[in-house]
Amino acid sequence: MKKIETLEMINIYKSFQGVRANDNINLKVSSGEILGLLGENGAGKTTLMNILYGIYQPDAGEIRVNGHRISIDSPKASIDHGIGMVHQHFMLIQNHTVIENIALGYARAPMLFPQKKMRQSIVSFSEKFNFNIDPDKKVWQLSAGEQQRVEIIKALVNGAGLLILDEPTSVLTPQETRDFFHVLEKMRKDGQMIILISHKLDEIKKICDRVTVLRKGRVVGHACTEQMDKRSLARMMIGREVIFSFSREKMSRKEKVLDVVDVEVDGDKGYPVVNGISFEVYRNEIFGIAGVAGNGQRELVEAITGLRMVTHGRIRINDIDITNQSPRKIHNTGVSHVPEERIRFGIAPNLFLYENAILKQHHQKKFSRRAFLAYGRIKAHTRQLIKDFQVATPSINIQTKNLSGGNIQKLILGREIADKPDLLVASHPTYGLDVGATEYLRNQLLKRRAEGGAVLLVSEDLDEIFELCDRVAVIFQGKFMGILESDDSRIADIGLMMAGTKDLRTGEGADDSF
């Protein structure tokens, strides 16, 4: 088969349950070119690429390779046409070895003894890009960066002429990102065609030749990245000037609320992932924990909110010891929790809005009498809540899963801070939300701070950390690399700390990928 040299997508339409995810989309990419696909979360980038990879079927439109119309009705057809995709959430078999994962999709994998016969070609393939991967390791033993390299090898061994990368840097440290971009540049020199999906302007500007910008399922423009500056790209992507208007006036810290002393916590795999962390959070303070996902922040938050055993150390709220207490008891002590993965952990998706609005308060006197819920008061409370927190919903009598992510998050936040908790623990509160909802939620956190609450904010979004936090701790492999005041000049090098560097001196190792 002829190698893929150009690819066009013409007039592509796709809806999910009546919602237009892709609306008349056109794009084109050729060999030796990196095309950026820029857009906010929910703009339809991933849907479009899943159509190209045969996971979804378009409602209308056509795909052309080298000028000929082709049909892609399954991932296999896509692979056969020379298209490879690295998904944002890796498509790897965690319990299998690297070789087994690569053999699974390799068109010319031998029927017998694939593990033995493919080792050599995988080793030499990974040497070509300096990947340095042990082919016999199980995938779950690999870091996110290593897993991504496995995904890239998987796509390239099949001779993919077009490589689709969906948010490839979202799991990488700044240093890993830099290495990754070197690999991309090398591929471009070899004549590889690449589509890079991202919502990060810096990345698009740095690595892409051309960019196609999506907004709400439509193409809002094509451009050469050289001719665009970040500001105009951002304007195209968002449709208005990005002005985050936050008024974070300086506040002096009041009394101590949260006191974490030398805490150690085990992860799901049974070995320690939080290794002796100590810090305090005070009233009128937002304390941020920055770091690449998977460095123990989830487990630390679960330990503080009572969802996970603390194996060593103490946690106190207002000088009351809450170590290994039940979540309800901790909640009653004044700790609220906005969990990550809001659909899985924040709500019961099939329950009605008004039921979700009192998930943690249903046992309180105002909402129940003995075994019975007081629905009148619950509904009144919910109506007030959706008004106060601007939850857009046609009714409180609908299943909560029908709300958009932003509105679900507003509902959760409203539920959690309605009782004015002393400590609010928020994990990735604005992850995947649009600009409007993000701005609103961040302002609510600042309001909570101004009212005298203490906020513990875990986020991967450094903009969010910088905008909101009075102090920032950087977590790496279960330890704090340091705790910085927001006006500390070393904060510019936070990327290095996220990759495991401790004790930074000012100006050292300025990181150009930021």
């Binding site: 399954s74 991932p75 056969d80 965690q94 299998h96 087994e100 994962n101 699974l104 029927m111 593990q115």
Partner: protein, 306 residues
């Protein structure tokens, strides 16, 4: 004394044979992510089919082939429900057990109490069966025994050392990722469930045309459930299934030996299940990852879901 010992081991291997066949089949099915609780029913269908065909043709080998085909066909019901319709696999599997037991009872009604004129007898392997001790125990067995052991080893080889094996295992671990690699997940699951059904039917045939030469309703006697337990006991590994099946076979023989000593037969019948519980308990206390259950076992998979 020597003769008693040889006979005990020999009977252990005979009792373990259908368990091994069934377990290996269930391992294939579960490794692809489909829990099949219909083993007991498929075994019964295999047993009655083998008996009827042997009775009429006088050829037990033809009976065995017919049993395998019948087991595969009836397993398609479960494959269709759990793969194509994405229904609850526990419910569908239980339905298959009831269906199989019912169908077998109905078809076998006229044959109750009629012994076969011919059955598949022990087949001593030349030279090897003359080895003292080992010979009579391992190499003077029913062909079912040799087939069961060879199929177990073959299945282990298939799962661990072939591309098809990687595909089956990947399907059970992460069907979505497997699909994105161009593998037809539905087809792999259909094949695995149907193959598993063939194995279970073989186990049933062993009971009616080799172990005994008669058909009575309920002759599978819960062996299908022990197979489900053995699959977990074996941690989804066919090689461990060999050990497990003959260990459990030994417990069967133990029932007969200990009964004269005044131990309640009900207590002894409980032993295989107790052993399984014990293994699960011990396994659960250790690292859960090493328990090895396919990650997406019994989870329906639908293409193109968001």
């Amino acid at each position: 004394m020597e003769e008693i010992l040889i006979s005990v081991v020999q009977r252990t291997l005979v009792a373990g044979t259908p368990l091994l066949l069934g377990t290996v089949g269930e391992i294939i099915s579960e490794r692809s992510g489909i829990l099949n609780l219909g083993v007991e029913g498929v075994m019964a269908v295999g047993a009655v089919t083998a008996f009827i065909v042997t009775h009429h043709t006088g050829n037990p080998w033809l009976g065995l082939c017919a049993a395998i085909i019948a087991g595969m066909l009836i397993s398609m019901v479960h494959a269709f429900a759990s793969v194509s319709l994405q229904s609850n696999q526990v419910v569908s599997g239980l339905a298959l057990t009831m269906l199989g037991l019912g169908v077998a009872g109905l078809l076998g009604k006229p044959y109750v109490g009629k012994p076969l004129a011919i059955k598949i007898n022990a087949m001593p392997i030349p030279i090897l069966s003359d080895i003292p001790w080992v010979g009579p125990v391992f190499f003077n067995q029913s062909p079912f025994f040799y087939m069961a052991v060879l199929l177990a080893i073959g299945t282990w080889f298939l799962l661990e050392h072939t591309l098809l094996g990687i595909r089956i295992r990947s399907t059970g671990e992460n069907p979505k990722a497997t699909e994105t690699q161009g593998v037809n997940v539905s087809m792999v699951r259909y094949l695995s469930v149907i193959t598993g059904g063939g194995f279970s039917a073989m186990a049933g045939a062993h009971l009616s045309i080799s172990y005994s030469k008669s058909w009575i309703e309920g002759m599978t006697a819960g062996r299908g459930w022990i197979v489900i337990a053995l699959t977990i006991f074996a941690l989804w590994n066919p090689m461990r299934a060999v050990v497990g099946a003959f260990l459990f076979g030994g417990i069967f023989v133990l029932q007969y030996m200990l009964q004269p000593l005044g131990i309640s037969p009900n207590f002894l019948a409980m032993l295989p299940y107790m052993a399984t519980l014990l293994v699960l308990l011990v396994g659960g206390l250790r690292d859960s990852r090493r328990l090895n259950a396919p990650a997406m076992l019994a989870e329906p998979y639908r293409r193109g879901d968001r």
